[in-house]
């Protein structure tokens, strides 16, 4: 901007100077013209005067001579008052006008004298002609002729004539003769005077001075005019140059303005909240998104600290950290929990960037914030839902457990009941029993209760909310699972073909039990409903180079291709509403992938077992080795 102002100033200066120079040149030019005219007129008038001076035998109207003199004087006055002569430092010109002035003064003086003399001379010539006619005497014929031809006879010696007249004057004293001779004498005397004056005139050298003045002045004016042209050309070039620069700047400015406009539009219409504050964090600008989301207009928040939006849910240290970061000149990113005008909480993902001026001082801060409230809320809801599902699956598992517990407790309970009832009957009927017998019965009861206790321990372990990853052996976990659900399998005559490599891993054992239970139960359910005679479940636990794999495969015919992709979706079930919740496999996948860093996959397999072809689904739990 400064450059632009400077350039504008420069442009105007050049323009002004150019105008001044052109005007000056114009004035000077007309000045030169006037002076040249004046000099020329003086020269012409001077020639006229010289012409007049040669004109001897005539009466003169002296007005004409005087007018010429006045003309010359006026022209010369114009010359003298002309600034060009006052200002010039030109060596050839500086003293010339004064010299001319002196010469002119002298010349006029001499001309005045000549005028006076010539008046007498002319008058006397007339009078002697008059007197000659009256004087019949021929004594003066010779003198008369000489006098009358004086001007045509420059070689004549005036002094000799004068002497002759003096001689004649002594001789003739007659009235007319006396007058005649006196007039002749006057004529000769004034001729001498006029000759003197004329030689004086020649000595003045006015003509040479005037020509010198003209020549020198022409040279001088040529020089000045050339100089003026040169400066005008230079200025013109400068003008063009600055004009060019001006246009370039202007074009750039327009360009950057367009860019700025575009940027501004982007900011204004952005869905992101944009807040600009000054260096003391007082709001200078907010965009429409800000107004839409917070409910505050720019006028309401202008000059205020954005803290007015704070919900108070964030600690002082949070804000301190923010301030420290941005005042240190760094970019700050983080999440604000703010309240809008209506008091609703909103979450905003924000980036605050300080803006520097050219002196490297922070002048403002720009905050760009994204309203993440909706995402935040739906995330929360998802969490809640997941928790609920987990709960549900746990409950389902619990139901399963209770069923299993009741199965497993049935036999030991009946054992205890039988043993204790047998002993009781024997006592009532006073049948004596040996100590050995009694001990045997008591041992049986004890063993049964022991069994009960073990069973309950296994269940309790399962419900123990141990979220810490522990090191365990997969085979042991599998045994535990089988222990929990074995009762259900015995009743339906399913063969478990186990090929177990007892590998140690560090993970969540209870969760693995829950998943295995689900998979095994699903396999059992499929086999129960299938018409296959030979019901088989293959359990393979093995490892390859990268992974530890637990495979559960049945020969239940596989999963329909149409739905195989949907089996892990929540609430999807092939079972009857009362039997399945549809969350079992979904939860399995969630647990394996999200909590145990593993993968759960399903494929349909065809395979041969003991020379018989089977088809079935294979679920694989894959844990990558670290």
């Amino acid at each position: 901007m400064n450059k632009r102002i400077f350039n504008t100033f420069f442009l105007l200066t050049v323009l002004g100077t150019l105008a001044y120079f052109i005007n000056n040149a114009k004035i000077q030019n007309s000045n030169f013209y006037n002076i040249t005219q004046n000099i020329q007129q003086i020269i012409l008038l001077n020639k006229d005067l010289n012409l007049y001076l040669k004109n001897t035998f005539k009466y003169n109207n002296f007005d004409i001579v005087q007018n010429k003199i006045i003309s010359i004087q006026n022209n010369f006055k114009k010359l003298q008052i002309n600034k060009t002569f006052e200002d010039t430092h030109e060596k050839n010109l500086i003293n010339l006008p004064n010299k001319v002035a002196i010469a002119l003064e002298k010349k006029f003086e001499i001309i005045n004298k000549i005028n006076s003399h010539r008046a007498i001379l002319n008058k006397s010539y007339i009078i002697i002609q008059k007197l000659k006619t009256k004087d019949t005497d021929s004594h003066f014929d010779n003198l008369y002729t000489k006098i009358m031809t004086l001007d045509k006879n420059p070689a004549v010696r005036l002094n000799e004539i004068l002497q002759r007249i003096t001689q004649l004057q002594k001789k003739y004293s007659f009235k007319y003769s006396k007058f005649f001779l006196k007039h002749c004498k006057l004529i000769v005397l004034y001729n001498i005077e006029i000759n003197k004056s004329e030689s004086k005139l020649n000595n003045i050298g006015l003509e040479q001075l005037l020509i010198k003045l003209q020549d020198n002045y022409n040279m001088y004016s040529q020089k000045i005019i050339q100089r003026a042209y040169l400066s005008i050309i230079i200025l013109f070039i400068l003008l063009l140059l600055s004009l060019l620069i001006y246009i370039i700047y202007d074009y750039r400015l327009v360009q950057s303005r367009t860019e700025l406009k575009r940027f501004r539009k982007t900011v204004e219409n952005s869905d992101n909240i944009i807040v600009i504050t000054d260096e003391k964090i007082r709001i200078k600008y907010v965009n429409t998104a800000f107004t839409n989301i917070t409910g505050y207009t720019l006028n309401e928040v202008k000059g205020k600290n954005p803290k007015i939006l704070s919900s108070g849910n964030q600690s002082k240290s949070f804000y301190d950290n923010l301030n420290q970061t941005i005042y240190a000149g760094k970019k700050w990113s983080g999440e604000f929990i703010n309240v809008n005008k209506n008091g609703d909480i909103s979450y905003e993902q924000a980036t605050i960037t300080p803006v520097y001026n050219e002196k490297n001082r922070i002048i403002e801060f720009i905050a760009i914030k994204l309203d993440t409230t909706k995402e935040k809320l739906s995330q929360d809801q998802l969490h809640k839902k997941e928790k609920l599902l987990l709960q549900q699956s746990k409950m389902a598992a619990m139901g399963e457990m209770l069923q299993n517990i009741s199965h497993q407790w049935r036999q030991p309970l009946s054992l205890i009941s039988t043993a204790s009832t047998g002993l009781l009957v024997k006592k009532e009927m006073s049948i004596t029993t040996t100590i050995d017998e009694e001990i045997k019965i008591l041992n049986t009861i004890n063993d049964a209760t022991q069994h009960l206790s073990e069973t309950i321990n296994a269940f309790r372990d399962f419900f123990n909310p141990n979220k810490e990853k522990t090191n365990f052996k997969i085979g042991d976990v599998y045994k535990k699972t089988i222990n929990i659900i074995k009762s259900k399998f015995k009743s339906v005559d399913i063969n478990l073909i186990e090929n177990i490599d007892n590998i140690s891993i560090t993970n969540l054992d209870n969760e693995l039990i829950q998943v295995l239970m689900n998979l095994l139960n699903n396999a059992r359910d499929v086999l129960v409903s299938s018409e296959t005679q030979n019901k088989l479940i293959f359990i393979n636990i093995y490892q390859d180079k990268n992974n530890v794999i637990i495979s559960v495969k049945d020969n239940g015919g596989g999963i329909d291709k149409k739905i195989i992709n949907k089996v892990f979706e929540p609430y999807f079930t092939t079972k009857h509403q009362s039997d399945g919740t549809g969350i079992g496999l979904y939860m399995c996948q969630e647990i394996i992938s999200k909590h145990m860093n593993g993968k759960l996959t399903v494929t349909n397999q065809s395979f041969i077992y003991q020379n018989i072809n089977y088809k079935g689904a294979e679920f694989k739990i894959i844990f990558p080795k670290r």
């Binding site: 020329q40 004109n55 009466y59 003169n60 109207n61 007005d63 010429k68 007197l131 007039h183 006057l186």
Partner: protein
């Protein structure tokens, strides 16, 4: 082109030299200035003791001079020269008997400072005039800088420029009215030329355009050295301005010292001292008759300024 026209005009003027030219009927004058000048010309405050005005010695309606041999200034002080007429003075190429001023502007200052004439100074005059509301008003109306020495002179000169006497009988004759002059008057003019009077008395003012030695043929008895008093140049002794012959019969007495009061005397003296010839009575009469035809119209007298 202009140059050539100029040369042609000048050469024609040279060739067709009319020795006497008529006074122009009109002359360009600023009426307001002239009116103010008129007032100043007749204002006695221009003299030291408020007794003398320009018009004291240049009585406009009596030929522009004071009819005395020599003029009287303030306190009755007697001057040394005859008052020249102010009429047609604008056509003179020099002013004063000794020709020391080249124009009226210069001339006007002379009598104001001359101790035997008005004996005043412009400082005094301006002080006096500034007490007069009329002048304050008039000057400020015409001039930007009000009452100043320059402006006072300017106004007076402008008034003097109006004091011209055109349409004399002789002027009419010059313009072509050949019958307006009587036979004797024409003969007078012829003699005027023949005796060479016209060699000095020529131009529009019939004089006033050169200096001439008084007593060129026969010595003229006078103690006044004329131009010599100014230049102290021996050659300038007895050189006086050739006076105008316009309105000559109204401007007696004649010569620089008012030596003679009749035209006859004056003509005879001129013939004797200057021309170097003796006129007979008849010739003198004719010349006087011619001279009397030089009285012009004084229309400026009819002009009444408010």
């Amino acid at each position: 082109m202009k140059k050539y026209i100029y040369i042609i005009v000048i050469s024609t003027c040279m060739l067709a030299q009319e020795l006497i030219t008529p006074i122009p009927i009109n002359i360009n004058v600023d009426e307001k200035k002239a009116e103010l000048g008129n007032k100043l010309f007749h204002d006695k405050r221009l003299s030291k003791n408020n007794t003398i005005s320009c018009s004291s010695c240049h009585i406009i309606n009596e030929g522009g001079d004071d009819n005395r041999a020599v003029s009287y200034g303030i306190n009755g002080l007697k001057g040394t020269r005859n008052s020249p007429t102010v009429l047609n003075a604008t056509f003179n190429t020099s002013q004063f008997w000794d020709g020391r001023s080249s124009d009226l502007r210069e001339q006007a200052i002379g009598p104001i400072h001359n101790p035997v004439e008005m004996g005043s100074s412009f400082q005094e005059i301006i002080e006096k005039l500034k007490k007069d509301n009329f002048y304050i008003k008039r000057f400020s109306m015409i001039y930007d800088d009000g009452i100043t020495e320059n402006n006072i002179i300017d106004a007076i000169v402008e008034y003097e420029n109006t004091l011209i006497t055109p349409n004399s009988k002789f002027d009419k004759y010059l313009k072509g009215d050949k019958n307006i002059l009587t036979k004797k008057e024409k003969e007078g003019f012829q003699l005027f030329k023949e005796y060479g009077c016209i060699s000095c008395h020529n131009g529009v003012n019939i004089g006033g355009n050169i200096m001439q030695k008084l007593g060129v043929f026969e010595t003229f008895e006078t103690t006044d050295f004329g131009k010599y008093n100014i230049t102290k140049n021996e050659e300038d002794k007895f050189y006086f301005k050739v006076p105008s012959l316009r309105n000559i019969q109204q401007t007696s007495p004649y010569f620089h010292n008012g030596l003679t009061s009749t035209l006859r005397d004056a003509v005879n003296k001129m013939a004797f001292h200057q021309v170097g010839y003796i006129l007979d009575k008849e010739e003198t009469d004719k010349i006087i008759l011619f001279l009397k035809t030089l009285d012009g119209e004084m229309s400026f007298l009819e002009k009444t300024y408010e």
